[in-house]
């Protein structure tokens, strides 16, 4: 349980920010904007993979928001703590192990991603789409959050300045959010791109969440792929922490 203080710290800050109106609204703002612009304007007229675009979009938005928020929270928190506020040194001079630091961050970033996902599910109810009952949906969602909060931690450790977080986000996260079947079907890309995109973690999440959401056949292979990425980013973070200190 030695990860607990690291986790708790992030949770206290999260809770505190949550009660600020601006934060609450901004977390909801982007997904609601997407739902309104894409979903409502195109949603009822355009079909994608055999369903209305709105139906296609909701699980995609959940994958996007869970990945993005988990990543962003940790990348910011770790880089700010390391570079500007130096609070990260508190962990380094205390007897807390690197793996506890990693676990603490991965779990706290995950909470942030889950929160955003649940907010979208809440909004989706108003559009007439209740949250799916399939437990696999939630397994994949959780895995996706842990995966991207590990990646966010890695970015936070690698960053030399605050700006690097945005660079990392622009080059890795932004392309994934558009290419990985979140907003558009992967099937429309040329074959060779499709193969690369298929193995990106966010594609697996989109595919799995969408299958679950639309009550189609669930791609069970997604879970081991996502799990492998999570383990990889976790150990990468651990390795970088050791090397940097």
């Amino acid at each position: 349980m030695s990860f607990y203080p690291v986790f708790l710290r992030e949770l206290i800050v999260f809770k505190r920010r949550l009660f600020r109106k601006s934060y609450f609204i901004s977390t909801l703002f982007t997904p609601v904007l997407y739902l309104l612009t894409f979903g409502l304007s195109l949603g009822r007229r355009i079909q994608m993979e055999g369903v209305s675009y709105l139906e296609f979009l909701i699980p995609g938005l959940i994958s996007f928001a869970s990945a993005n928020e988990s990543f962003k929270w940790n990348a910011m928190s770790v880089s700010l703590g390391r570079i500007y506020y130096k609070t990260f040194e508190e962990y380094l001079v205390s007897p807390v192990s690197f793996s506890s630091i990693m676990i603490g961050y991965c779990l706290s970033g995950c909470i942030k991603g889950l929160f955003s996902s649940f907010m979208i599910m809440l909004v989706a109810i108003f559009f007439g789409y209740p949250p799916p009952a399939d437990p696999l949906f939630y397994v994949v969602l959780l895995l996706n959050c842990i995966l991207f909060s590990s990646l966010g931690t890695v970015a936070g450790i690698l960053a030399k300045s605050y700006n690097d977080v945005f660079v990392f986000s622009n080059f890795f996260i932004a392309p994934m959010t558009f290419l990985c079947g979140t907003f558009f079907s992967v099937k429309r890309f040329p074959d060779w791109i499709k193969t690369i995109i298929f193995y990106l973690p966010l594609t697996q999440t989109s595919l799995a969440l969408r299958a679950s959401f639309l009550k189609k056949e669930f791609p069970l292979y997604s879970i081991p792929i996502l799990f492998a990425f999570t383990v990889f980013f976790y150990f990468l973070g651990l390795f970088l922490l050791r090397r940097k200190s």
């Binding site: 690291v6 710290r9 800050v13 506020y85 609070t87 007897p95």
Partner: protein, 277 residues
Amino acid sequence: MIKVENLVKEYGKIKAVDDVSFSVEEGEIFGLLGPNGAGKTTIIRILTTILLPTKGRARICGFDVVKDADKVRNMIGVAPQEINLDRELTVYENLMIHGMLHRMKDLKKRADELIRWAGLEGREDTIVEELSGGMKRRLLIARAIMHYPKVLFLDEPTVGLDPQIRRQIWDMIKNLKDEGITIMLTTHYIEEAETLCDRVGILNRGKLIAIGKPEELKERIGRFVVELLNKGKTEYRFFPDRRSASRFVEGLNQDAVIRKVNLEDVFIKITGEKIEE
């Protein structure tokens, strides 16, 4: 309690710490005095297990700072130069999280005790961001001793504070010494080193150029100093007593100041430079 042997830290070709050896006894306040960039913080960072030395070794309570870093971390408290309190947490939360990181029990009692000790009663639930500079510094020290460390490291504990608040911090530090904590601090304030430290090591450009009790160090160069202007530059002459200093001044055909030597004079005598800008 602290034993440093032939410590070297290189950054490329620059030697930030150059073959430094010293030891600190139990219950003592040891100060590293020197100008900015002398290598004081680098030494503290090595001793507190944040940086690895290039060469040499350092032990705290018998444990090597590299090989037994975990054991060392349990024994030490650190208040770094840059205030690294968690500014998004309250005073109380800062202490609690610190205690949890050190796997403490009885957290609440200790936190309350330290909030009183640091004169922060009524501020328990204030977000750190909203505290004054002096309050932050007091909380930083309180947090560093939360887990009852045997050795406390204070890196420039009063940098940037008003003289009155500086004295408050000094009282806190003396108070900790009375409780038996071994303290190592760095400073570039002469008065701080003279008032607080049992022994002082003077550092310049990574090298330890003198070490001893403040009184002994001063005695070595003479008790009195004459400051005189020579071609627009201040010159310093050292004398064993006031009489010989006065005699020297009488023989001059210009104004000069006679005063007791301080630790800065020790630094000037050895390096020809001043410590405080």
